[in-house]
């Protein structure tokens, strides 16, 4: 089947999509957007987190056909040209990236948190990131990065 939807502000058409295929597969394998990572395929790890109509979801658990006519924003759609999103900048500055596999999902999920919550507490951050697994960092530097991004965002308001 054909699926037509908006990805990072541009209308995209995917053809020959199998009906049981996930949104994640379409993004990575058909539209050439490998930022969202494919790991657990069961919503456990969060590395495929994308915005669907403005809400963060696991792209592996959305059937591609369910994205028809909807808006998807992936990690590739956060930066403006060469300018990284403040969350991405903070992750790089704080050393919150090691192997990098979990990073795109964490960046999207953290991006949503600081859009919604002005001054997130540590409990807010931990709760928001509870569905994103990182096996390298031990999370401390990720928490540093989200605190930094949130503080900058609050200062800019």
């Amino acid at each position: 089947m054909r699926v037509t939807f908006t990805v990072n502000g541009r209308e995209q058409v995917a053809d020959d999509v199998w009906e049981g295929e996930s949104l994640l597969y379409v993004l990575r394998e058909r539209l050439g957007l490998p930022g969202s990572k494919n790991a657990c395929e069961q919503g456990e790890c969060g590395s495929c987190t994308v915005y669907l109509d403005g809400t963060p979801v696991c792209a592996c658990l959305v059937a591609a056909g369910q994205a028809e006519g909807r808006r998807v924003r992936t990690v590739e759609g956060l930066a403006e040209g060469d300018r990284l999103d403040p969350v991405q900048e903070a992750f790089a500055e704080c050393g919150a990236v090691q192997c990098g596999f979990c990073t795109p999902g964490l960046v999207v999920q953290a991006h949503d948190l600081i859009e919604r919550v002005g001054k997130p507490s540590d409990a807010d951050i931990r709760e928001a990131l509870a569905g994103n697994l990182c096996r390298c960092t031990g999370y401390e530097k990720i928490l540093d990065a989200v605190r930094l991004a949130a503080a900058r965002k609050a200062a800019a308001r």
């Binding site: 009906e19 979801v57 959305v62 999920q109 569905g131």
Partner: protein, 286 residues
Amino acid sequence: MDFLRPTTWEEALAAKADQPEAVPIQGGTDVMVEINFDVRRPVALLDLGNVAELRTWTLADGVCRVGAAVPYTRIIDELGEALPGLAQASRTVGSPQIRNRGSVGGNLGAASPAGDSHPPLLAAGAVVEVASRDGGVRMIPAGEFYLGVKRSALRPDELIRAFHLRPATGPQYFSKVGTRNAMVIAVCSFAVALHPGERRVGTGLGSAAPTPRRAVEAEEFLGRELDWDSRLDPALLGRFGELCAAAAAPIDDVRGTAAYRRHAIAVLARRTLTWAWNDHRGRRAA
């Protein structure tokens, strides 16, 4: 595989009637896992994502009617006061991403004994509204909905439209045992709901039997013995825990042993009733 996209409830019922083997999909948090892992190859997916009414809820004539597809995130944000037991359970479902997509309708459709929404639905006395094109509407009390492991009273041509619950008239609590505070399939879980006006206590056990179930003898025991105007008698509390554990029929599996689950149910039952009772007494004193 067919991919069916009804945009109204009537279209959805017609699609299900014409192709009863079609698998309904909404949040996808169960169905897509099965497809991704090749556990299931449905002949058709029936996408309910465009049936907007399934994501609405109303409060009328003293009853909350909550659409089957209202995601857990919105139950937490919008229904925490009216349905506190269900909202607590909703907070323990998966992760934020899962709660943004998953819904009570999906939990009911999957009918897993470990589903988090089942115990509070049982304790508070929810009624499930299902319908088919040819059979019309059926209102099924939660206690009669679960028939076996992942089996429910839903017929092949039926879809779940909503559940109905009276807003809480007393304290409600939910508690769940798991290895961490997120992304946990319950080892076991327990819900309690006080109905002070009727001098009645409702219960719900999760992941402790082939189906979610009430601890009916424990409820009847409290109905007889509980003095609603005094402190909670420790002996009575202990007996309540024992009767709840006796209502369980758990198994050994990767998440826990039957003996542990039975023990934990007694602990959760005593704990949640104590929390609820403290609220009940506090409310009366205030």
